[in-house]
Symmetry: D2
Subunit: 347 residues, 4 copies
Amino acid sequence: MIIVMQAGATEDQITQVRAELTQCGFDVHESGGPGKTLIVAVGGKNVDGRDFESLNGVGRVLQISSPYKLASRLINPEGTRVRVKNVEIGGAEIILMAGPCAVENQAQVETIARYVAQNGAKILRGGAFKPRTSPYSFQGLCEQGLKFLQRAAEQNGLLVVSEVMDASHIPMFLRYVDILQVGARNMQNFTLLKELGRVNKPVLLKRGPAASIEEFLLSAEYVLSGGNKQVILCERGIKTFETYMRNTLDISAIPALKQLSHLPVIADPSHGTGKRDSIVPMARAAIAAGADGLLIEVHHDPDSALCDGAQSLPPGHLFGLMKQLKTIASSIGRTIAQPVESATAAD
Amino acid sequence: MIIVMQAGATEDQITQVRAELTQCGFDVHESGGPGKTLIVAVGGKNVDGRDFESLNGVGRVLQISSPYKLASRLINPEGTRVRVKNVEIGGAEIILMAGPCAVENQAQVETIARYVAQNGAKILRGGAFKPRTSPYSFQGLCEQGLKFLQRAAEQNGLLVVSEVMDASHIPMFLRYVDILQVGARNMQNFTLLKELGRVNKPVLLKRGPAASIEEFLLSAEYVLSGGNKQVILCERGIKTFETYMRNTLDISAIPALKQLSHLPVIADPSHGTGKRDSIVPMARAAIAAGADGLLIEVHHDPDSALCDGAQSLPPGHLFGLMKQLKTIASSIGRTIAQPVESATAAD
Amino acid sequence: MIIVMQAGATEDQITQVRAELTQCGFDVHESGGPGKTLIVAVGGKNVDGRDFESLNGVGRVLQISSPYKLASRLINPEGTRVRVKNVEIGGAEIILMAGPCAVENQAQVETIARYVAQNGAKILRGGAFKPRTSPYSFQGLCEQGLKFLQRAAEQNGLLVVSEVMDASHIPMFLRYVDILQVGARNMQNFTLLKELGRVNKPVLLKRGPAASIEEFLLSAEYVLSGGNKQVILCERGIKTFETYMRNTLDISAIPALKQLSHLPVIADPSHGTGKRDSIVPMARAAIAAGADGLLIEVHHDPDSALCDGAQSLPPGHLFGLMKQLKTIASSIGRTIAQPVESATAAD
Amino acid sequence: MIIVMQAGATEDQITQVRAELTQCGFDVHESGGPGKTLIVAVGGKNVDGRDFESLNGVGRVLQISSPYKLASRLINPEGTRVRVKNVEIGGAEIILMAGPCAVENQAQVETIARYVAQNGAKILRGGAFKPRTSPYSFQGLCEQGLKFLQRAAEQNGLLVVSEVMDASHIPMFLRYVDILQVGARNMQNFTLLKELGRVNKPVLLKRGPAASIEEFLLSAEYVLSGGNKQVILCERGIKTFETYMRNTLDISAIPALKQLSHLPVIADPSHGTGKRDSIVPMARAAIAAGADGLLIEVHHDPDSALCDGAQSLPPGHLFGLMKQLKTIASSIGRTIAQPVESATAAD
């Protein structure tokens, strides 16, 4: 941390800043030229540098090292592989997680589960508790939805990921799902994150629509610092002035996160765009940029989907996408499971 | 709702869209010219128009009426006044809510409570549960903090507002606070909002840093539709490309919210800027733009504050601000309580 | 400037960075702890710190001092007053610049000029060359429009400000206007800015919709470093995710610019909001936040305006606004010219 | 265009709106239910719908058809191929444009030209006139730089693209370059765009950092409506709240632009990220998303580059990238020229 004192800072003020830093365990060095004092603090506790901005005489506080520690690539330069049963996320194989936006009924989720399994997915996604912007939108089947998901996944050799909206639901989720998803709107629901830090199953953490990369990694740090080391990061689009897409999928965050952190990074091109025509090209782009997996909404009959049908991939498109992804993956030395021969017939 | 069909939409597709709309209770009219079909839907259920985007042949969906109903100005053109004991928010009198960012100890909160009461505040604010970006930052005194707040408020004839971070904490909060605050990061914590809809105390709802005005009002709608009609909206800054301030306080949202909704609107210039020097001018701007109140962080010794000292108003500044606000309020026919004679001596 | 070397930077790399800095005239100091080298450079030429990011072994470059010099408050802590004939911008008196969005014909501009003069405006604004997003929108009356403006201003004792879109038009503008306006879209038209640096009339520089405060001041620096010291800054709204307004008027930029720079700062609530209902509250907010003046679009018959009628203040509203602004100005020790007795009759 | 009248709009107001629309050549239909009047206007002139927002009684104006016509995909559903000598942009072959950020001297540009030609580039890029945020940064070699570029290109069988900053420079540029580039900061320099509409050489138009997709296509429309049909669109990053990258390269704009417009679309991952480590993954992502070409900064010695060295690809990286791009291109049925056998030796 570097503290740039104001032009007219007094000796007393400088002394006080040094004292506060020393108290936090920092080694303190002074630098700068005439009328410009810099206090360089090395080591010390994990502190939020902004807390020092309020000291008298302080001009600016510049943080040199990242405020997250356990999420940093320095912890594990090889990169972390999150293992769930027979699936590994963060290795050479790119993992597809796919399924409906919302679980609607048993038949629907079973049809889609069979379809995505035949096309190479390893993990079934589906919303049972749905965070909806409007209170008048469909809010999900709740526990019944989780049961449908679990059964459909078992029948097709898939794992289950689903969004948990509240810390009080965690015990219920642990009975039905393999990976607990934190939605974008809950990325800074710290009560939820802290509870997930005590859980023995992986957490798929989505980036909030206004979260900087640093804030995103600090939310991962909440889970990691609680003791749960199995966190998967998911880029799903940020809010920008551009409104043509529902969000702007920040593809550049993928290589950035891979460089800054050891955690696996996947992308969600469905929520990231909100437009069916954009899912396939953005899925290709995410893999080309280095993503470890994809989270894609698929619906066998998107026109009658109860929610977000517009951003679901219709039957038949997934097969072609997986073929393209195999080639793209090979360009960077990676692999991805392919559809079974009869998959196209499933349409 | 207007549904613009794609150029080549078939008769069958148009018929299906009409059928779906009729099923949702809409009166359906067809319009448009050659090769351009518009389906105009009036009345009907509260639906999310985007759900219709997935129907075959649909080009775009344009929503005419606002998706929120209970939050709309049309419900109560006079404007709602939220009454809490002897304080009314949304009337001619502008209300100051002030206090420390975080409750640190009993002496601190009592000193500040006395100070803000002498300067015209009606409500004491203070964080007992603190949502912090980093898990390594001070997280608050929890229930003990609420007790300190309540005692300090009682001693000084103030009401209490404090942030509740999780639905499970609501019963505890109801014992200590007069207004339950929902923080910006929890604006779309729908589990929390739904629970607050069943509570018999007012809710102060902060705008999320990436929330559009419509999304903000839809979050208010969650509380209102649960039965709790006492919602106060709070603008506290949005995320933009500009990083000089921690957030960009969206002053223009104040008149917009007053026009679109009947709910009282207040502003938080402390979090909205993150810079001490900006609090006073932005507080003046918010009142000039029509805000019904202010939420301001005040600290008697900001240099040693455990959190966010940089955005707290130091002693003495509040007195001058209140004098200025009295004049500004008078320019638009409003009033604001003034410091007692001896207030300056409190510094 | 502080250069943070990468963790594994070699002695050779550190030596090269020091050499480059010395060559640019910096005094160089080394700091940091084990495995963490910081190079602190003081003094030196005006350089763009990012140019040093490409040197081998460099991790980050942190600029301590502002990259603008002539625009900095340090140059003139008292604040600069731009004087044009009998008008002074940046003094205690708040200055109103008002007029039509586009000059349409002689009668229109004369009617509006008389109206704004009666209501306290000192400067007549009006577009003769119009930068329009679409090539199919009205593009302005060009030189004829400037002539209309000049005549209408003279008849009413007003000065003229109008937007110059291209460096080649400057000589023509110098014949007709008192202040040359640079539009938001041209804020980084450096050819234009350099030419305006050689001009002997004030420049009103609008902030670009994606320009940071630093970029804005660097554009002012282009004009100042060319020798023209008379620059007026104008906040007119930035692009954000919020689309309810055409732009988000960044009121917080007003006190920030006043603190960082000695140049006068005005606000344009018409373009900043694009909504007629928001002009009056946002004009009040700008003055309350410390703006030195306002640039407001006024039209005597906004419903038939050829461009941007939606953001023009209709007759009668200006009178009421000026009365409110007088009171607000007094709260911070400032003044503003008031409407003449008969002004309301002008409606 | 659909005009939604306000709830209380009078018959007179509706009549006036209809009259204005009819005067602009629209076929007008009325629709809506009780107390909700919609006026649907089909056909008519190219108008900016916002101009109708100011009419009395108008609530909102919704534009159905795109405001750009000549840039729309409807004009040429096959897609436009821009041909320059032996190079075609927009066909099956992906085109690489590469070269230094700024032309520094003859030796530098010749070294880089040879290097990029050997690695498969068809077009040499290089800045002779540099738009720099700070007036104190290197501003380019001007005409001398264009001469260096032209000579280096000829020696290596390349075409030349370079940025023109002002309309007055166009005649000079026509002597030296094959494609005239409009920089992001000049995307709405309408004087420049209009002049380029009269030129007989292709224009490479970069998206402004705050330009929506619609605004971008309207700027292309300025050139197209002037008669110049050879426009190449270039995505180069937008301003968002995320500051880790200099800009956020909006990969999703690539498929969106391809769908909305017939014009070729390329991407600039150098300016789009500002970080050397991100160029390669983002170049791959852009091609995977469907870009017709890339504009990449390459420098044989980036550590001593006079500008933007941090965002230049160092020698050796281009060779590997081109190999990866060949595979990615094949996944979507496209090709890209490959490095010559001896290219790696050029490092």
